[in-house]
Amino acid sequence: MSNGRFGIHGGQYIPETLMNAVIELEEAYNRCKDDPQFNAELTALFNDYAGRPSRLYYAEKLTEKLGGAKIYLKREDLNHTGAHKINNVLGQALLAKKMGKTRLIAETGAGQHGVATATAAALMGMECVVFMGEEDTKRQALNVYRMKLLGSEVIPVTTGTATLKDAVSEAMREWTSRIADTHYCLGSVMGPHPFPTIVRDFQAVISKEIKQQILEKEGRLPDAVMACVGGGSNAIGSFYHFIEDKSVRLIGCEAAGRGIDTFETAATINTGRLGIFHGMKSYFCQDEYGQIAPVYSISAGLDYPGIGPEHAYLHDIGRAEYVAVTDDEAVNAFEFLAKTEGIIPAIESAHAVAHAIKIAPEMDRDKIIVITISGRGDKDCAAIARYRGENIYE
């Protein structure tokens, strides 16, 4: 079996033209990951620039209202640029710089990864080009402006469904044509090896901090950790240091869109099957002939027909559960958290909040849940207003 497998998943299903690029990336990463100098630089960026460690906040009002398990929120929304994406991007940009690359390219769905990449490029004096589905540039116009403000070029992708999967395809095509000076800063735990491992390692800071923080606050591990899953980077980051702690339930919340019994869904584990796409073997939403399905979710960040290979593996071995959350449930949770705790979560993160709203009341009061709030919801306000029938201008 080839490199970078998680059970049967993962691998490197990419054109020959890119093989040396991913091999070079893996070698560079292996040199850097245990290098004290690299890690000191990255930690300094995390702490002084991105504002880490992010808070673990006891959501007392939410806990009281739901009347069950004690709920903590891991506040990745408080990071610089407003989401967990910055963790991965600072790691990859630093790595790219060590490799002598001068240009970053990235795909983005909701725009959070694009903004994070544009930010790191500005900070490190690198050129930056972001590919974004044209449909998403409309849904997330503010983020397009932010990227441009940060000095990045934003290329609207009009092929296919003009959403995240097409942005990934286009970024891959661009990388194939320009490798020497360019690093593809992939935004999730997906794509060909070594990306799923590199991105997971940079995001694992989330669960490392949760563990320390919950032990300080409660003196014990949580009973459940939950996070939303598109490609799955904030979820794997939240799960990683708990994988060996079998008492901790790991719950990934997929976007069901209008429901997993409809075609308008993006719930990969719940509706997809094994396939090979975007460099990896994993589960994908697809038709009987292997054509990739045009998925749908209100959340541009979860609107992806696949899932990272490590999640596919955690599902196979039963270590993590993957549940589906509809648009309606996510929007209700978005509003509920805003009113209850004064925290507006990203619509992506609201999928995890929605599942907590379902299960917390059924759990005993001495149980503990941690929900990762992967990002802030300012970017979503106009879209949610539209969902509720109110037209506001961004």
């Binding site: 079996m1 080839s2 490199n3 691998g11 490197q12 299903y13 990419i14 054109p15 020959e16 033209t17 890119l18 093989m19 040396n20 690029a21 092929t159 296919g160 999967k165 097409d166 395809s169 891959m172 095509r173 194939t176 044509s177 320009r178 490798i179 099957r273 094994l274 396939g275 090979i276 796409f277 975007h278 460099g279 994908f284 697809q286 009987e288 002939y289 292997g290 054509q291 990739i292």
Partner: protein, 256 residues
């Protein structure tokens, strides 16, 4: 000897590509017959995929036209079976890993052998991942075609040593599509390949004019043309066959 080797027996090979079902299989059938009539040595038949990550805009759009026309893998198998009643020219499928994997690799290759396919090209399956497909290909006498790119460098030896059918040399960085100039040092790549194998090499990506084809074929055993042909298919739709035939005729003449 595989049927593919025969394509390289009579001088330089000209290898045209067409997306099956663009805009319908009847048109593709007419195009294939015109290609044969005008001297194509081997024909690459594309099975469309929804998200062809190695293709430029021209072939991406052909994939969309074909899929919206309702073509499926099963219909393409039936179509090839029909063509094989009177056409002996070697056929190679060009598609993406998921089309084969999702159909069931074993089932897919059994069908390939049944209908008379000689080889398969999967641009998203590099050397490291070919064990998913190559053993099943061997079991069904289908050549698994390997690709070598301008970035392959020290990988050339391992790829060339295990190559079957022919080696697809990618002329340039990037995706498929017409290029005004090919800057890669192709001669150095073919020289490196020939140190390790007798398997013929054909060059593809970016070739559109008879001059380019002659130049590339002089450096190797043949030239592959996709986007330039698919452009004609897009322009003339159901009436594309004679136009493509004429083009293939010019290209094969340039290789004589």
């Amino acid at each position: 000897m595989s049927n593919i080797a025969k394509a390289f027996e009579n001088g330089k090979a000209f290898i045209p590509f067409i997306t099956c079902g663009d805009p319908d299989l009847e048109t593709t059938g007419n195009i294939v017959r015109e290609m044969v009539k005008n001297g194509a040595s081997l024909i690459e038949l594309g099975i469309p995929f929804s998200d062809p990550t190695a293709e430029g805009p021209v072939i991406q759009e052909a994939n969309i036209r074909a899929l919206s026309g309702g073509v499926t893998t099963d219909k393409i198998f039936d179509f090839v079976k029909e063509l094989r009643k009177d056409i002996r020219t070697p056929f190679v499928f060009m598609t993406y890993a998921n089309v084969v994997f999702s159909y069931g690799t074993e089932k897919f290759l059994t069908k390939c052998e049944e209908v008379g396919i000689d080889g398969i090209i999967l641009p998203d399956v590099p050397f490291e991942e070919k064990e998913d497909f190559a053993p099943a290909c061997r079991a069904h006498n289908i050549d698994f075609i390997s690709m070598i790119a301008p970035t392959s460098e020290q990988r050339i030896e391992m790829i060339a040593k295990e190559a079957e059918g022919f080696i697809y040399i990618v002329s340039s960085l990037g995706v498929t599509g017409v290029r005004s100039e090919i800057k890669t040092d192709i001669a150095a790549i073919t020289a490196a390949v020939r140190k390790h194998t007798k398997t013929p090499c054909a060059i593809g990506f970016g070739i559109s004019t008879p001059e380019q084809a002659a130049k590339m074929a002089a450096l190797s055993d043949g030239a592959i043309v996709g986007s330039a042909i698919v452009k004609l298919a897009a322009k003339y739709g159901k009436d594309a066959a004679p136009h493509i035939g004429e083009y293939v005729g010019q290209m094969t003449a340039a290789l004589k």
